[in-house]
């Protein structure tokens, strides 16, 4: 089994996924908390977009891609997560 991501990696991952359109903006009531399922789906979408193996977990390759220099604009348009959810 892949090792569980460290807390700081998880925090970085969630922030990154929100910033680039894979997770909806943080709920003011719950802060950055996301369900595990939602997070896994977002990671899968990010991995698919980035040409990585789609594992749904924050593995090393995924974290490395998140640290790759990139454009500031999101990959998915605003609301894409909501539409995906429906």
């Amino acid at each position: 089994a892949a090792p569980a991501p460290r807390a700081e990696d998880l925090s970085l991952g969630v922030e990154w996924l929100s910033r680039f359109g894979y997770l909806p903006p943080a709920d003011p009531a719950t802060g950055q908390l996301q369900t595990q399922e939602e997070l896994s789906k977002a990671i899968t979408a990010m991995q698919q977009f980035g040409g990585l193996e789609t594992t749904g977990i924050l593995d090393e390759a995924t974290l490395a891609l998140m640290k790759t220099p990139r454009c500031s604009l999101p990959d998915l348009p605003p609301g894409a997560q909501a539409r995906r959810k429906r």
Binding site: G50, T68, R70, C71, S72, L76, P77
Partner: protein, 420 residues
């Protein structure tokens, strides 16, 4: 799931670099030229036309900013997010393009840590005209920085990007005389600053060689343009072989860092490995990044495993991407990528039949041919051939330096040292 595309309703868009990188070794002209070529990538294949303007009303305002610059997309220091651009629309920031000034922006650099400005600019201008990110790894619109994309003068968009931009704006009609009248092509800015060509920069005529009678010291293709060196002066020809000025420019005022006492150069070439420009004189050589000399030069020519005494000529042969050095009747073959002389050299020249064994200089040209210069003549060798083309030698002055034509004579003010 993608929203309806936003695009410009007009076809003529203005642009301006409002702020420049603060600590970059790149000059402003280089930054402007890179922006020009990055926009040209898109306008070459669509009906869009971009023109540079000076005022604050440009459609595409280009800035180099740091940290939070009040647009909702704060930069985060080196790495991370490196640039962004705003999609077309009615908002005042539409089309604006921002680069993180904390990145080490580079151009034609071998520095692996640098961020190639041209590659990022092509991507961002894709946003500025309405393209969003895509997952296709070969697309310029995939969101991650993947390193330099090559020569700005030769870069062509990948197929996916061409199709997507055609879906927005359609295909650029083939250029016809009427189309050109309606939408004139802007004048291409150079990748290097213009040499001084105003009369006040020209020194007294008695010292200036004449281009129509000169035996050139060195000839080189640099950034796609031809440079003819004689004494302390040089002439420059654009990519379409037009003289920038009939008057020569002063070498030291343009090639910043050459010693003032240097009265001539032996040979010059643009290195294919990193596109730096190398000047040879006697036992020494200088390396220039754009038109500024690099630190630590001059160095001895023994760095190239060349013997003392210097060289007469140097050029990179497009056919095998090797650099050839010539001295008297000998020549050497050098690999610029490994920085090693190929074994078995020097060899008695010439390699190309019909070309003189002793040369003033040589250069490759954008037509794929190689050109060899000696005295007032030149020889052309077609790409990959080992023999000079029939009909050569021809006159260098006539074919390259606009001599012997009525227009040239009429414009050629000043008596010149040979009394023309």
């Amino acid at each position: 799931q993608t929203p309806p595309p936003t695009k410009w309703s007009k076809r003529n868009l203005s642009w301006r670099v409002r702020t420049f990188p603060r600590d970059s070794p790149m000059g402003r002209d280089t930054v402007r030229a890179l922006m020009y070529y990055a926009l040209k990538v898109w306008s070459d294949i669509t009906p869009l036309n971009f023109h540079e303007v000076a005022g604050n009303t440009a459609d595409i305002q280009i800035d180099f900013s740091k940290a939070d610059h009040n647009d909702g997309y704060p930069f985060d220091g080196p790495g991370g997010t490196v640039a962004h651009a705003f999609f077309p629309g009615d908002h005042h920031t539409a089309g604006d393009t921002h680069f993180d000034d904390d990145e080490a922006w580079t151009f034609r650099s071998s520095d692996a840590h640098g961020m190639d400005l041209f590659a990022v600019a092509v991507h961002e201008f894709g946003h500025a005209i309405g393209l969003s990110h895509v997952a296709a790894p070969s697309s310029i619109m995939q969101p991650y920085y993947q390193g330099p994309v090559g020569d700005p003068l030769r870069y062509g968009l990948p197929y996916e990007d061409r199709v997507r931009v055609w879906q927005l704006y359609g295909v650029r009609e083939s250029v016809s005389p009427t189309a050109q009248l309606g939408t004139p092509e802007p004048e291409e800015p150079p990748l290097l600053p213009e040499p001084p060509n105003n009369r006040s920069s020209i020194p007294p005529w008695k010292d200036v060689p004449h281009r129509c009678t000169a035996h050139f010291d060195a000839v080189a293709q640099i950034r796609g343009e031809a440079f003819f060196f004689k004494g302390k002066y040089f002439w420059r020809l654009t990519r379409d072989r037009h003289l920038v000025s009939l008057q020569p420019a002063q070498m030291h005022r343009f090639w910043r860092g050459l010693p003032l006492h240097l009265d001539s150069v032996d040979a010059v070439y643009e290195r294919t490995s990193d596109h730096k420009i190398v000047f040879f004189k006697g036992d020494r050589y200088w390396v220039f990044k754009d038109n500024n000399v690099e630190e630590g030069y001059p160095r001895p020519v023994s760095d190239f495993s060349l013997p003392p005494g210097g060289i007469d000529a140097v050029f990179s042969w497009a056919h095998n991407d090797r650099t050839y050095f010539f001295k008297d009747q000998l020549y050497w073959r050098y690999d610029d990528h490994t920085r090693r002389m190929d074994p078995g050299y020097p060899v008695q020249g010439p390699l190309w039949r019909g070309v003189p064994s002793m040369l003033d200089d040589a250069m490759r040209w954008s037509d794929g041919a190689s050109y060899f210069f000696r005295g007032q003549e030149y020889w052309k060798v077609l790409d990959g051939e080992l023999e000079a083309a029939p009909g050569y030698p021809q006159s260098t002055a006539r074919d390259w330096l606009v001599c012997g034509e009525p227009l040239a004579d009429a414009e050629d003010v000043g008596p010149g040292p040979q009394g023309r």
